[in-house]
Symmetry: C2
Subunit: 341 residues, 2 copies
DNA sequence: CTGTTAGCGCGTTCAC
DNA sequence: GTGAACGCGCTAACAG
């Protein structure tokens, strides 16, 4: 059995209050007593029981994080930021993967509240209103990180999808491209931030007097890419598009693969731009021009926001949305048509 | 303020003991009393405070996981297994990234022990004897997951690196390759499991009457790959090797990139095999033949082992090593030389 | 400066 | 079957 505050008190021949005082440095203690306590602590290798402490102080120093899937690259990058900043403030992370099941998320919220977490961060693709409602009911502060949805019920950290998409499109135009196709996920349309990305693309095209054209893809698998390719093969061969701007890096890579499999040269026959800034975009050849999302920063900002809410629980009720800047990474997957003139 | 057991007792007009009994189903309670308690619980939306509970039962239902870097693909895949199985047993995961700093790992071990975690899983590249010693001192059960080191001080879950490497080499030989080069990380040699991989390769080569040849690479970056290429360019051009078996997928991919950049055709001029089974290996073209490590299973088995240790703390002191089977994934990066005959 | 006391919320004797 | 009382390990008044 580990030693308790009592053991220390006994050995140092003081009361437990005095021990508590030197541990927390909460009240003045005579040098002599402090010395004896410190000595006893080191001899007994005493470490305060945080559970008992939490019970009385009502501070667990734990943040609950509910993610869709920890195995997801995007999620783990964000989590990195959350974890590191949390650590700076002496907070631990209680982690759970919901696999995007709303009911499971609610179950976790319950569990976490029972474990007395002080706040919760949600990294999820789905929008779980019921969960937010529940958290509000529990009075547990909460910050949402979501690539897809805009949430009004809680502070959210994300990027300005529309501006990012606008800027990338603008860049492509500056590279001399006029026939720019946008590849979007069909299943994510309407309900998600995808629509903001598309809007940015369309706005940029129209501002340049060009005609936007969107292709829809069912999912993120290679098969989905193949399907999209076959559907539009004629257009691709005829050179209807000089570049495809894909709403996700992975889709761009799959499409490049498929086109190559069908004898097209990349980027000569078709330029590509992605969205995300995944490590894959840097490893693949040609290196993919893409919109780099600041994953780490998103996590870091989110937990900082959470701490702020913890501080002044009453005042800062601003359920704002924090938008982080993105970076357009210019690589070889986009050919400069200006050179050809 | 959330309601407590007292509130429930008051409303149900029973003592807190009775409430506790129906919650834990620990002792018989009259149907009538139970009904009233249940009703009060639902009305008050009462949920037991797990912190208070832990304090008295000495069971936190929390497992601490110390990882090198949660942003690492390998780590997050393993964590998935840990998390999911942990959940099945109603355990939560307290997560922290050490970034491979031994001192930080020890700090976490202390923190975790103060938070009364019941066990700890370590997913790290480094071998931290001091940490293991400390955990032993705390009497906190611990399982180690390590791709590189063999640990004797605690149960370890890993794969049979030597056998895996042997089998892959054997496969390459069967594909008609005779001049098989092995690419290893220099910095990981000797101290790590890398040596087992090399041994497997060498044994397989010798068993087939072939001469092993190892090339050393400094690290995992593209620059490292380039350096290795330049160092051995002559050999590569002269066809000294028909295939390179790389100790990590990423290195294989970087090397393929570099060789292509220098005008070589892959896999025509050089076949490639990797180790890891990363998602990248399936996305890259040509798809990479590789040894697929069962990341999820490794995590799942590790936490199961931990639970076993928690069960019968005294009996199961076996500090064994659990080896999981791997799979050789045959893809297009290795050409079949037998066809050419 | 210090020790005594009263809880925090809950599980668990031990009498009734 | 049930409730009163104690204690888990600790912090926070409260007197002194």
């Amino acid at each position: 059995m580990a030693s308790t505050i009592k053991d220390v008190a006994k050995m140092a021949d003081v009361s437990i209050s005095t021990v508590s005082r030197v541990i927390n440095d909460s009240k003045p203690v005579s040098p002599e007593a402090r010395r004896r306590v410190l000595h006893a602590i080191s001899v007994l290798d005493y470490k305060p029981n945080e559970v008992a402490r939490s019970l009385v102080t009502k501070k667990s120093n734990i943040i609950g994080v509910i993610v869709s899937d920890i195995g997801n690259q995007y999620v783990s990058q964000v989590l990195r930021g959350v974890e590191e900043i949390g650590r700076m403030y002496n907070y631990d992370i209680l982690l759970s993967s919901s696999y995007d099941d709303p009911e499971v998320e609610i179950k976790f919220a319950n569990l976490f509240s029972q474990k007395q977490v002080e706040g919760i961060i949600i990294i999820s693709e789905i929008l779980n209103q019921k969960l937010l409602y529940k958290l509000d009911e529990f009075k547990i502060p909460c910050v949402v990180i979501n690539r897809f949805y805009n949430v009004d019920e809680a502070p959210t950290v994300t990027i300005n999808n529309k501006a990012a998409s606008y800027n990338m499109t603008d860049y492509l135009i500056n590279m001399g491209h006029k026939s720019i196709g946008y590849v979007a996920m069909r299943k994510d349309m309407d309900r998600t931030n995808e629509k903001y990305k598309i809007r940015g693309y369309r706005d940029a095209m129209r501002a340049a007097g060009l005609k936007p054209s969107t292709l829809y893809c069912e999912g993120l698998t290679e098969a989905d890419a193949l399907e999209l390719f076959e559907e539009h093969e004629d257009d691709f061969r005829k050179g209807k598009y000089s570049v495809l701007f894909c709403s996700q890096d992975l889709m761009a890579v799959h499409l490049m693969n498929v086109m190559r499999d069908h004898g097209m040269e990349i980027p000569e026959d078709m330029s590509f731009a992605g969205f995300g800034g995944s490590t894959l975009s840097d490893i693949y050849r040609p290196k993919l021009t893409t919109v780099k999302e600041p994953y780490y920063d998103i996590g870091a900002v989110a937990i900082r926001k959470l701490f702020k809410m913890l501080d002044k629980k009453n005042t800062d009720k601003s359920e704002e949305m924090i938008l982080l800047p993105v970076e357009i990474i210019k690589r070889q997957s986009v050919v400069d048509l200006n050179d050809k003139k």
